[in-house]
């Protein structure tokens, strides 16, 4: 039995259909990433699966229980860390986790034991008696994660767990998510970061405008796209001319930021000389170029016609090769 099974799930807000009849299945022990831009329907879907919002159509079950008819049983099986860590800045970290243990029905002594253990696990023991309002963003996320784990849930929902965090804090959260998954916890996470989905997930669903447009393992999704592309940074004013030249060589990708041109090529690195020669003959000065293998963003572009991020971390971490 899948840990999460969703059939035709739909949520309407007045005239707006925020989630448009999605289907998905998450197996036990999987890390499943729900990838999409802001407003795609990720959080609405998570809120329905965690029983915080009633669906207006379709059905869903989590840990074998219907999210509408057996909502309380679902809540007993899940841990939830929602977007923007929902923490009371006036409580201490220790108070928050102990309260969470009480909410989950754990006996007082057991709740205290687990709170201490979890605070240690997320490296917050030293700050446990400080008010949460004094924590950094990364510390708050770790506390939120620890609170979600206090009852050792079968399924953990993480709604954009690293949004707004610095790279170091982000990697710490990733390590914790991997460790939890190694312990057997099924993880359903939403993200707008391609790298996060790529690094963590066994399965990825790409959602756009309330619909799932692609689903599969990161590798299978990228393999579907097939060809790599060449990304070229050009001197001012060269883009229109370059686009005209490159259109005859390969498929132009939608413009990312107005500073570069991307063209899909069939032969990878072997096509670089041809591209450079063509641009040179047309009098277009190339400042730098880079051969980019298919990424989840390419999958996203292929499926939706637009980019997921204008400034992906992959771009930041992979400096262009000087031409």
């Amino acid at each position: 039995m899948p840990a999460i099974a969703v059939n035709g799930l739909e949520r309407r807000f007045g005239e707006v259909l925020a989630v448009q009849g999605i289907d998905l299945s998450v197996e036990e022990g999987e890390i499943y990433a729900f990838l999409g831009p802001n407003g795609a329907g990720k959080t609405t879907t998570v809120r329905m699966l965690t029983t915080l919002l009633l669906p207006t159509g379709g059905s869903a079950s989590v840990a074998g229980r219907d999210v509408v008819k057996e909502a309380r049983a679902v809540r007993a099986s899940i841990g939830v860390a929602l977007q923007e860590a929902a923490l009371d800045p006036l409580m201490t970290g220790r108070e928050l986790i102990r309260l969470q243990a009480t909410l989950q029905g754990l006996p007082t002594a057991e709740g205290r034991r687990r709170a201490d253990r979890l605070l240690e696990r997320v490296d917050l023991s030293a700050a446990a008696d400080r008010r949460v309002g004094t924590y950094s963003g990364g510390m708050q996320r770790r506390l939120d994660l620890a609170a979600a784990l206090v009852h050792e849930p079968r399924v953990l929902f993480l709604d954009e767990p690293t949004t707004g965090l610095d790279p170091v804090s982000r990697k710490t959260i990733w390590e914790e998510v991997r460790a939890l998954n190694d312990d057997g916890t099924t993880v359903f996470l939403t993200t707008q970061y391609l790298e996060e989905a790529d690094q963590l997930a066994n399965e990825v669903a790409i959602i756009d405008s309330g619909r799932i447009v692609a689903e599969g393992t990161p590798d299978s999704l990228k393999a579907e796209i097939g060809n790599p592309h060449i990304q070229l940074h050009l001197a001012d004013g060269g883009i229109p001319k370059a686009e005209a030249v490159l259109a005859g060589i390969g498929r132009l990708l939608p413009p990312r930021d107005g500073k570069c041109v991307e063209v899909e090529v069939a032969n990878g690195a072997a096509d670089i000389p041809r591209v450079v020669r063509a641009l040179d003959e047309a009098g277009v000065a190339v400042e730098s170029l880079e051969l980019v293998k298919p990424t989840l963003d390419d999958v996203f572009v292929a499926k939706t016609g637009h980019h997921l991020e204008t400034e992906s971390e992959e771009d930041a971490e992979r400096p262009p090769v000087g031409a």
Binding site: R72, R75, D88, Q100
Partner: protein, 261 residues
């Protein structure tokens, strides 16, 4: 552990959080204690000769008369502050943490009300202590003091229910905070600060039917004359009415919130 015991622990834990939250946020505790205390000092200092007016109930002092009004003012503000705190919880998403726990969702409202009731108890003890310090005699003795404390605590829970309902419905701390002047208007249109007999129309008629007047009189009578069964019953019925209204409205607002997200 039975489900009832588990739910009781949840209500207690949320009530304790609510009290701590109030004491840790000066802008919540100050209006509950400081404002009514200052008003009490100003009124008793500047209008104490009002007791000599013809028709004023026989009292030992104006402070003795005013204590019940100060207590009810304090617990009204506690109810409003409880609503503000709940609305802040909604705004910052903390209620989502509570709603995603395997507990009856109404326990979340009851936890908040338990906290407001505890603040009402604290307010009653605070003003009774002020009375004692300044030589007020409680005519009905210890039983009267106990009755006043119980009524004040229950009344705080009752008005907290209205605050919670508004918070759940609007999800906006500023809206709940904006109702503060209305709280004062309702209070001044009761017998909290002046005897009904000396009011002029239409305030007199409004005060006569204002449920707060029944609560004030239920708390005041044991202090100024003795326990009166009819006044006590009226106070209990007024509290029950507000409790039922508050719980009904809170339940509807909670269902609405969960339906619309």
């Amino acid at each position: 552990m039975s489900a009832l015991a588990t739910n009781a622990r949840v209500v207690k834990a949320l009530g304790m959080r609510s009290v701590k939250q109030t004491f840790r946020r000066p802008q919540l505790i100050a209006p509950i204690i400081v404002f009514p205390t200052l008003l009490l000092a100003i009124q008793t200092g500047g209008a104490s000769s009002a007791v000599q007016l013809p028709g004023f109930p026989p009292v030992q002092s104006f402070l003795q008369f005013m204590l019940a009004g100060a207590i009810v003012q304090s617990l009204m503000i506690a109810g409003n502050s409880g609503g503000i705190a709940l609305a802040v919880d909604i705004e910052m998403g903390f209620t989502d943490r509570l709603f995603s726990a395997p507990i009856p969702r109404f326990a979340i409202v009851l936890g908040r009300l338990a906290g407001t009731a505890a603040l009402g108890l604290f307010a009653a003890l605070w003003f009774l202590a002020i009375g004692l310090v300044f030589g007020v005699t409680f005519e009905a003795g210890a039983a009267g003091v106990l009755l006043a404390i119980v009524l004040a605590t229950c009344a705080a829970l009752a008005v907290g229910g209205i605050g919670a309902a508004i918070a759940l419905r609007t999800g906006s701390a500023s809206v709940v905070q904006g109702l503060f002047p209305l709280v004062l208007v309702i209070l001044f249109l009761s017998s909290a600060f002046f005897p009904q007999e000396l009011m002029i129309e239409p305030a007199k008629t409004i005060a006569q039917y204002n449920p707060l007047s029944f609560i004030v009189e239920g708390i005041r009578e044991p202090m100024i004359s003795g326990i009166d069964a009819a006044d006590t019953l009226d106070a209990v019925l007024a509290i029950l009415g507000i409790v039922l209204l508050g719980l009904l409205l809170s339940d509807r607002a909670l269902r609405h919130r969960l339906r619309v997200g």
